[in-house]
Amino acid sequence: MPSSSPPQRDPVSELPAQAADEFQTRLAARLHQPDVAEFDTSLFTWPSHPAATEYTSLDWIAFPERVNACLGRRLALHLLDTPHDVIGEGGRSLQEEYAEWRVARGPGGITDVEITIETADYWRILAAHSPERVVELVGEFSSKEEPDVSLIYGALDPFAPGVTVSSREAAFADTMLAGGRSSYNNGAQGIVCMVHPDNSMTALLRLAVAACTPFEVTDSDDGPFRSATCLELAPRLKSAAQLGRASDPLIVERLARLAFEGRRVSLDFPAPLSITGIESSRLRTPSGKPVPPNWFRLSRPMRPDRPQAPRHQRVSLQVPQEERFCVSDLTDVATGEAVASGGQVADLVQISLHLLGSATSDVHRVSIDVSNDLDDLDCEDIRRKTAKHEGVDPS
């Protein structure tokens, strides 16, 4: 790999400064795209408004709640782990809570579950501007000292003189993202970043803008006035949010509430999503002892400048070799079951969305009439994706 003097880094991320600027610019431009601009964008700001200094966050569990509700737990766990390249049937296409995972199995069972919340939007920029770093990280994630660059950039040599950033990005996207999905990102050899289209910054921004509208609901003639619920807002979101998920409805309600309070709101850049908690206390070893929290290895801190809140993007669960058992030998006390799937590990992982808001202020709210008859669970797309597994006994 050719060496060159490292470009100036963004102070709070691994991106070169120019790339960080481009990332910001791209996301800002997203607000002007027609499918976002159709919403009232007055209270959602990007980059964040100077008055948006109050921090708040919300969290959810990485396990796909809607898939579980639509398919039942056993089939959901089975299909969520199905490998790898078959987009549209299971696996990553069902991992829809801003977290995606791969499961590594050995002769004794599961040896490793790796979960990432890194977005493809970020990796496109990284791949365009920092091919050395991309190759280094892919090597780290796939445990390869010298990863095959052609499985990252396809036929393009990303280090060749004259190669443009846009050609690198396009080659990376063709090879590693939805169109191609090399084995370094389809779970076979590794997982690098999320590929589900809804697990993206572009989708998250649309959702955030759509939700950040000051609606109010009056339950009776004399109040109380309140912020709308996700079910009440659903018809106004134009498919920006998916009901039944753990994440989207929560994001909708929190942003709607902040708007109701007259706050200007922004995502807390550069890492609005992070892994903030692990329910390691639910797992037991074969001898019944609690699993030490450090068997979950958090990595990819996106705010290394803030050691108290590093905003990790990745976590893996492995049993240390000296223990002579594997992940499949652990038991979840919440179910009494052995860990037989990645979904069970995702059920232990807490994802947070970090927001900034200004102080409360008076705001003109739009009063909405609501119906309580809305269905909170739409399974149609999931059933379509998994139709051929209907009636299958996953055992």
Binding site: N68, P249, A334
Partner: protein, 399 residues
């Protein structure tokens, strides 16, 4: 989905839990068949329905006005039947009592460490069983008599069920608990409760039912009362006298904390002010975020958002006795939710109740900032099937 949730869960509009509570835990005798168990439960259920109409087995033929007095005694009685993990345990019940699937999160509480921040008390006792009956009523006599009537019937009729434990509780008309704070202020508006309660299919026999968590939590009142009012309010997240939510915390000249609550609305308050005292704007103060009311409901979202982890709480205080070492008292924590997974997350997640015993800053060396005064005397998880022909859960015994 039509509301088929059993009586005894007071989630419907204008319903309030009556003040008397008793939980009766029963096990099915080893070797009893599914059919014997079904017949036994049907007899108990029929007897309880008769009791609610004032018919006591030992008082058959009772003339008026005595019958009327007995009817009045039991008129407010509600009985709820639920099924514990043990019911589905093939290691304990051979042959299996049911061919239907055990719900995934209907698990035993871990004997070593039930929850990361709530340990067993040294006096812990049985809380798991096959069948749990919850009795609620306006009078203590009604719930106590109901429990004893079950015991009488099992003996008189040789039913394959035996009582293993019972726990009582009471509610206060002022809505406060032993900590002297209002409890239940954050419970949901009635129109949202069904969404938080009602189970979906998976397993199918639970569709339209709900799940119960029962935890008999011992409160070390002496430790709690060592905290001054400001410390208590900061731990709870509410004003002690009014129940208003805290909106900020200031620091006094000596570094002491001064919690500031939302003003309690007077009679002329606007609808928005009426709402704000119990449901204040989003907080950004880390101490308020760490308080009990925020930890127990971090998202503040509606139950239509599955990630909101909402549950419907219906707890009852208890006083088991007072001795030289002080009172033995606490809370029968009772919650109903559409999935037990919700409760497990609340109790295991850091930032929720997974990293503090009650409320306050996780890992704080200052005990006044993260008081620890709760332990677990008994507890169990229960499936509460929907109302049904015969009795709730009768389909479990279908062959």
């Amino acid at each position: 989905m039509r509301d088929r949730i059993q009586h005894g869960i007071y989630h419907r509009h204008d319903e309030k839990p009556p003040p008397a509570y008793r939980l009766l835990l029963l096990n099915i005798r080893r070797g009893a068949t599914s059919e014997e168990t079904r017949r036994g439960l049907a007899e108990i259920w029929n007897m309880l329905n008769d009791l609610m109409e004032g018919h006591v087995r030992d008082l058959q033929g009772q003339p008026e006005p005595h019958l009327s007095a007995t009817r009045s005694q039991f008129s407010s009685l509600d009985a709820l039947i639920s099924y514990g993990r043990r019911f589905f345990d093939g290691g304990l019940h051979d042959p299996h009592l049911s061919k239907l699937a055990c719900p995934s999160y209907l698990a035993y509480l871990d004997r070593e460490s039930p929850f990361p921040a709530l340990a067993w008390s040294p006096q812990s006792t049985v809380g798991e069983c096959d069948i749990a009956f919850q009795f609620t009523a306006h009078s203590v006599a009604a719930v106590n008599c109901a429990a004893v009537e079950v015991w009488k019937l099992t003996g008189d009729r040789g039913l394959p069920l035996e009582v293993v434990a019972t726990y009582d509780g009471f509610g206060r008309v002022d809505g406060r608990g032993w900590l002297e704070f209002h409890d239940g202020v954050s419970n949901m508006p009635s129109q949202l409760r069904t969404a938080a309660l009602q189970a979906r299919t998976d397993p199918e026999w639970m569709e339209g039912g709900t799940y119960m968590v029962y935890l008999r939590i011992r409160v070390d009142l002496e430790t709690w009362r060592k905290l001054d009012r400001a410390q208590q309010e900061t731990a709870v997240g509410r004003d002690k006298l009014t129940g208003s939510a805290l909106q900020s915390i200031e620091e006094g000249p000596e570094g002491e904390i001064i919690p500031i609550a939302r003003p309690f609305p007077d009679v002329d308050a606007s609808p928005e002010e009426q709402t704000a005292w119990r449901d204040p704007p989003e907080t950004t103060h880390p101490l308020i975020e760490a308080s009990h009311v925020h930890r127990a409901n971090q998202t503040r979202a509606s139950p239509g958002a599955p990630g909101s982890l909402r549950m419907f709480r219906q707890g009852y205080e208890f006083l088991a006795g007072i001795g030289p070492d002080g009172p033995h008292l606490g809370l029968n924590f009772v919650s109903f939710q559409r999935d037990l997974r919700v409760f497990q997350h609340v109790m295991h997640l850091p930032g929720w109740l997974g990293d503090v015993n009650f409320g306050g800053e996780s890992g704080s060396a200052n005990v006044t900032r993260a008081p620890s005064f709760l332990t677990l005397d008994a507890g169990g998880f229960y499936a509460v099937p929907p109302q049904a022909q015969g009795f709730p859960g009768a389909t479990l015994f279908d062959t």
